[in-house]
């Protein structure tokens, strides 16, 4: 085996065999889903018992307001005087007193509470009140309810780009996902390269090794070895995600075949947020219909997933992931070689991480307007292109822009590797002095 091969093998096997790698690979997807699920779950449970005591001087809301996931109405004090009711609940933190004055021209209600009930509760109340009032006004105007339901419209936009139906919202999510993934990968693994370099330098093994191999071989061996670890982890995650997806899709297909199952579940799960709006929009929907709606929603995501040009996305993702990683890990390796303690890394980390963080921030703009001038420039400049271009790919990018971006990234990699190599070979053997930027500059030209 060639020497660089030996180095790659060592870097790869020592990392992949670590318990932390296996644990991370299995736990990260779980962690991600927990991050998404926990707030939703908490939101559901926490607001369940928010009690709203209604004092209604119009006498038209008591009884017509319905409990939902967020709000639990208490009509026991409907005809009391507001001042009395306020006094009773003055010290109860979890109770809000809702006062509906006799309506005239200005329609306003007041909520009294010790602790702010929060926007979710307020919106829920507002939404219900609006609905009830609208309906009663329509009735007053002698409008037929069935007619109203009939004219209610929801326009569906079919977005055809280059003769292909696309879903912008879905593209946005995809773009966001890809860009964030690249950002994390680059950061995670470049920092690992830096740590590895520092470990060798601080352990003082580096001089033994560079008497056998060239510093450049050692650096590239480490960069490639760690990169392969990243790729391995990525492939494992894809497999896990694909597994989860097929389990989910099988589950949903089963529900579609056997609607009773789903209906039962829905009645048990009464009180989810969608439930609330649905309940107020049109009295009650049949569980069958909602079951059908879920399946349709899943199928629409499914269609989007199927319609996506995964070939292009995966090729681009791998290219920008590897390209960005090579570019940044070389720079991080140079940072690691220039310092001999962890705390000194800060000063050199800043200029290296700044473009990465900047492109992350700009990405939020790019996904909104993927064809702006800003988006173009950020996606062709090597330091920012991995994240920026990946945020544009799902929306479709002219091939020549992709070509420019890829070419400049490749050029950038060569330059960064050369630049890092120059600093690396001198930095490795520098101990005991704090290095300045001026000195780094001189290292570039040492023989």
């Amino acid at each position: 085996m060639s020497k660089i091969g030996l180095i790659i093998k060592r870097e790869y096997t020592t990392r992949v065999r670590k318990k932390s790698f296996i644990v991370m690979t299995l736990l990260t997807p779980l962690l991600f889903s927990l991050i998404i699920l926990i707030p939703t779950a908490l939101a559901n449970t926490e607001n369940q018992n928010h009690k709203v005591v209604v004092v209604d001087e119009t006498h038209s809301f008591c009884g017509s307001l319905t409990n939902s996931a967020t709000v639990n109405y208490d009509f026991g004090y409907c005809n009391f005087k507001i001042d009395e009711v306020r006094k009773i609940f003055m010290d109860s933190a979890k109770v809000t007193v809702m006062y509906v004055p006799p309506f005239q021209n200005v329609q306003q209600i007041t909520l009294y509470s010790k602790a702010d009930p929060g926007d979710v509760v307020i919106s829920a109340i507002q939404f219900q009140m609006n609905n009830i009032l609208e309906r009663s006004k329509m009735k007053a105007e002698n409008l037929d309810q069935t007619l109203i339901d009939k004219v209610k419209t929801s326009i569906d936009v079919k977005n055809v780009v280059n003769n292909e139906v696309t879903n912008s919202k879905y593209n946005l999510v995809l773009a966001f996902g890809c860009a964030i993934l690249i950002y994390f990968f680059i950061f995670l693994y470049s920092v690992q390269v830096m740590r590895g370099v520092m470990e060798e330098k601080i352990n003082r093994i580096v001089e033994v090794i560079i008497s056998s191999v060239k510093p450049f071989q050692l650096m590239m061996g480490k960069v490639i070895g760690v990169g392969l670890v990243g790729l391995t982890q990525f492939v494992l995650w894809i497999v896990l995600a694909f597994g989860a997806y097929s389990v989910a899709s099988q589950y949903v297909q089963k529900q579609a075949v056997n609607p009773n199952n789903f209906a039962q579940e829905q009645t048990m799960k009464k009180g989810t947020p969608q439930d609330e709006t649905a309940a107020n929009m049109q009295a009650m929907q049949s569980p069958m219909a909602r079951n059908q709606e879920m399946v349709t929603a899943f199928n629409s995501v499914d269609t989007n997933l199927r319609n996506t040009n995964w070939g292009l996305i995966i090729v681009c993702f791998l290219f920008y992931f590897l390209g960005g990683y090579l570019l940044y890990s070389a720079l991080f390796a140079a940072v690691g070689s220039a310092v001999d303690q962890e705390t000194d890394t800060q000063q050199f980390m800043l200029p290296v991480t700044a473009p990465l963080i900047l492109s992350y921030i700009v990405m939020i703009n790019i996904v909104r307007d993927p064809h702006s001038t800003l988006a173009f420039w950020f996606s062709v400049i090597p330091l920012t292109s991995p994240i920026s271009m990946m945020a544009r790919i799902p929306f479709g990018v002219p091939w020549w822009q992709v070509a420019i971006s890829m070419a400049s990234l490749i050029g950038g990699i060569f330059f960064a590797v050369w630049f890092a190599g120059r600093i690396y070979r001198v930095g490795l053997l520098m101990y005991g002095k704090k290095v300045t930027y001026k000195e780094l500059g001189k290292w570039l030209f040492y023989k």
């Binding site: 003082r204 033994v208 008497s211 056998s212």
Partner: protein, 326 residues
């Protein structure tokens, strides 16, 4: 004294140089690390590279190891211009040496041996032999962080010599070893030297230089200020002092030599007196002996050669004086 005889034989026998560094200059920024340094290392000898800290020894060693390149000058290995292919014929033990802490001992030794160009199977077999010899066989599957410093040093030494290099470069090889392990290393080095390995030893331990080295170069302030065979240098810098061990009256010896010679010291000991006498450069030692014999019973007579320590100190001090005078 057999080792000294051995040493002399080999100096005569070996005329070809395994390594020649010619007019090496190395500058860092404003600091000159090596200023026109030339060394010739004869094949099969042990060569001492001496000098105070910061004199430029490590810079020279790194150039020989091709870790860095000289600004000017050239290095010849076995008559050829030094090239990457020579790396596998050189074994290097740096002064600051470490190992990967989290890696297992055997695995790591195998990795380092393979980097030096050994085949995995060969390396494994040789490592097993050395591990047994150095009594660390039981540590093969332990992590390096569990080793004592001395044991880690043994592993480092093994890895340095495993690929049977033609040239061994050791920077302060004895530091950090207890006397038993230092002796183990010394024995191994002498054995390998006898089998034809050329050794460059960079050290501050002058006792080991006197005992082991055939030739030395002393580097100070980036320049080679002294070089040659150890025995030759000690003779060259001798100050013609003879040690006379005798029985009898100290005063009668004193009276006998006074006026003719310079009596430096007279030290009465339990069984005999030990005197040190300086004779002039052109007088011969037999005359001193003739003078002493009538006055006492001479039981020992030998020339006092300067130790490498003394040569080192006086050369560096003298050099520092001249450089600062300029």
């Amino acid at each position: 004294m057999s080792s000294v005889n051995n040493k002399n034989e080999r100096i005569i026998r070996n005329m070809s140089n395994l390594l020649t560094a010619k007019n090496i200059v190395k500058r860092y920024d404003k600091h000159t690390a090596l200023n026109d340094v030339t060394i010739n290392v004869p094949e099969g000898t042990i060569y001492g590279l001496l000098g105070p800290n910061g004199a430029g020894k490590t810079s020279l060693i790194r150039i020989i190891n091709q870790i860095t390149g000289p600004d000017s000058g050239e290095v010849l290995f076995n008559g050829e211009k030094l090239a990457p292919k020579h790396i596998e014929q050189i074994g290097y033990l740096p002064e600051e040496r470490g190992l990967y802490k989290k890696m297992k001992v055997g695995e790591q030794a195998l990795y380092l041996a393979q980097l030096k160009g050994l085949k995995e199977q060969d390396a494994k077999q040789k490592l097993r032999e050395w591990f047994t010899k150095f009594e660390i066989g039981a540590w093969w599957d332990k992590k390096v962080e569990e080793l004592s410093k001395g044991m880690a040093q043994k592993v480092q030494f093994i890895v340095t010599v495993l690929h049977q290099p033609k040239l061994l470069i050791l920077d302060e090889p004895f530091s950090g070893f207890d006397p038993i392990n230092a002796e183990l290393i010394r024995t191994e080095l002498l054995r390998m030297s006898k089998q034809g390995t050329t050794v460059i030893l960079s050290t501050h331990n002058m006792a080991s230089v006197e005992e082991m080295c055939h030739n030395i170069t002393l580097i100070n302030n980036a320049k080679a200020i002294l070089e040659g065979p150890v025995d030759g240098l000690r003779h060259k810098y001798k100050s013609h002092i003879w040690e006379v061990v005798f029985k009898g009256e100290a005063d009668s010896f004193k009276n006998a030599v006074q006026g003719k010679y310079d009596l430096i010291s007279l030290d009465p000991q339990a069984n005999a007196n030990v005197a040190r006498v300086k004779i002039s450069q052109d007088s011969i030692s037999n005359d001193l002996l003739k003078t002493a014999i009538p006055a006492c019973m001479v039981t020992g007579f030998s020339e006092v050669l300067p130790s490498m320590d003394e040569i080192f100190i006086s050369a560096v001090k003298g050099n520092n004086l001249t450089t600062s005078a300029q």
